[in-house]
Amino acid sequence: MNITLVIFVTVLAAYVLVAAGLTRFIKNRDDFYVMGEQGSTLLITGTLAATFLSAVTLMGIAGISYSEGPLVIGALGSFGAWLGTLIAVVYIGRKMKAMECRTMMDFFDRRFNNKWVSVVALILMVIGLLGYGIIQLIGAGLVLAEIINVPFPVIIIAFTFALMIFCSLSGMYGVVYTDTMMFFTMLAIAFVISPMLIGDAGMENLRGLGDTLPGYWTLAGANDRALGWSISQFLVWILFFACTPALVSRVFPAKNDFVILKVAIIGVFFAPAMQLMVYLAAGAMQVIQPGIEPADRAMIVGFMDHTNPVLAGVGLAGLMASIMSTASTLFVLTGFALARDLYEKLFEKKLDEKRSVLAGRISQVIVSIIVCVIAIARPAGIYWISIYAGSIFAVAWLPTIVAAMQWRRTNAAAVLSCMLVGSISFILLGELERHELISYPAGIDNLMIAFALGTITLVVMCFARNPSPYEIERFNEMKGQRMSEITIGRFLAADASGATLIREYRRVWMALIAMLVVAGGLWGYFFVQLGL
């Protein structure tokens, strides 16, 4: 048995065992869907950061950083992703949590109470989550199969079986705890393996890549990409990350508002920290071993051939973590959508706590089987869906959610029109471009046009139709729901003297100052080393 296979089996077994042990915490539906709102700063930071760092960072973008330079995506595209994550946590997620949403679908249901809005939002969510999740699973699974030398279907069956176990047995508990375990292996890649590779390459040689590959340390990169492309990447990533359920829903299990605020500081710090370390290490691989083909294997070659066997194992575990953490979040949310939003709410099934949890578990098994079958069969359709799946939330959900939170006139007809116009025009314009029937000016893409069309439709419909009394009432109620007031109330109910509240308040300030110092030191160091 080769060592990589041993690591693969051990890591999967560890996740499954932890998740199985957490089953005893599942007493009711809140435990299953939002881990009883007991998420600490460490757990929510862990699940957020692990979900953020997907195989795309470790392979696709690392490959671009390797061949074209770390700034090509890192300087603007990733910056959009970091800001989008902040918006997802501190604005959308925090507001939805104040409204006591357990899933993002709860927001649409409560705000509009309209079956069509719920049905369209649900369909878009399931397509978006599954399309994005399955294609990542396939891509990374193929690479992993090659490294471990195990047939691809076996890898997929092992992954989906593990995901099924920890999603169905312990729901959100399983996902959050295993994500946090995975977060530590990712930290090892970012702060142990990456600095080692950078050290092996040497800062001077890394700087010198700009001489051998002109443009390597510029925004355009070695392939001289247009500025419009970089700006387009920034917009795509900020719009996508701001309202993707994978990130927004990480806030729902948080214990209180102080946890959310600390996660907004610490968790969002780890997004650039982990990504930029990987991008720089990919650059270092260009020094250590130029000519790796395909380029997206650069980091894997770095783990396997340029570190010791222990770190190679950690690197492999980190790669698995990047696949599984994103996949587990996407698939658990799809299961929640089927059980809670479709079966219980849209079909109006009144279930007691026990049956609700059972429905949740059954839906996780169903999702796992569907994912497994599609990933192994790899139908052409899944590749087509994946082109549009991830970004569908940006064009269809983001304008509607922001308007629903901020604008009193927002009504069900406007939201429905925006979701349909945004998603259909996005696909239609994408297909026209793909078949070379139209082309867009530099820096403009179908996502931006679809986003604008959807938003214009939303605004026009909001003026054309008045909101119903229910929608006005819910808007006013929502405006009065604040996480800070809920948290203050709960803290003072538990400790009337306010000592605990004051202590937690001070801790957030301390975290804020500490992260400013850490970020200033870390990025200042790299700028001095590489930029001067």
């Binding site: 770390p70 700034l71 890192g74 300087a75 603007l76 910056f79 970091w82 800001l83 902040l86 501190v90 700087r207 700009g210 340390w217 510029t218 925004l219 605020l261 907004a264 500081i265 969002v268 710090f269 997004a271 650039p272 920290a273 930029l276 604040r482 800070s484 007031e485 203050i488 003297s497 306010g498 000592a499 509240l501 004051i502 308040y505 957030v508 300030w509 804020l512 992260m515 400013l516 970020a519 200033g520 990025w523 200042g524 790299f526 700028f527 590489l530 930029g531 001067l532």
Partner: protein, 50 residues
């Protein structure tokens, strides 16, 4: 010294992300929590004196 402006942009944006996070969280703390915290501190001080 060979100043690379785009490298400043890369690490500057990473730092800016944390700065923006801190400003946003700081504003939330000041606007939504500080009045209550200040009141609690006054009450605790008054209780100690009393």
């Amino acid at each position: 010294m060979d100043f690379k402006p785009y490298v400043l942009m890369l690490f500057g944006n990473a730092l800016l992300t944390t700065v923006i996070c801190c400003v946003v969280v700081g504003l939330i703390l000041l606007r939504e929590y500080r009045p209550t915290i200040a009141r609690l501190k006054r009450e605790r001080a008054a209780n100690k004196r009393g």
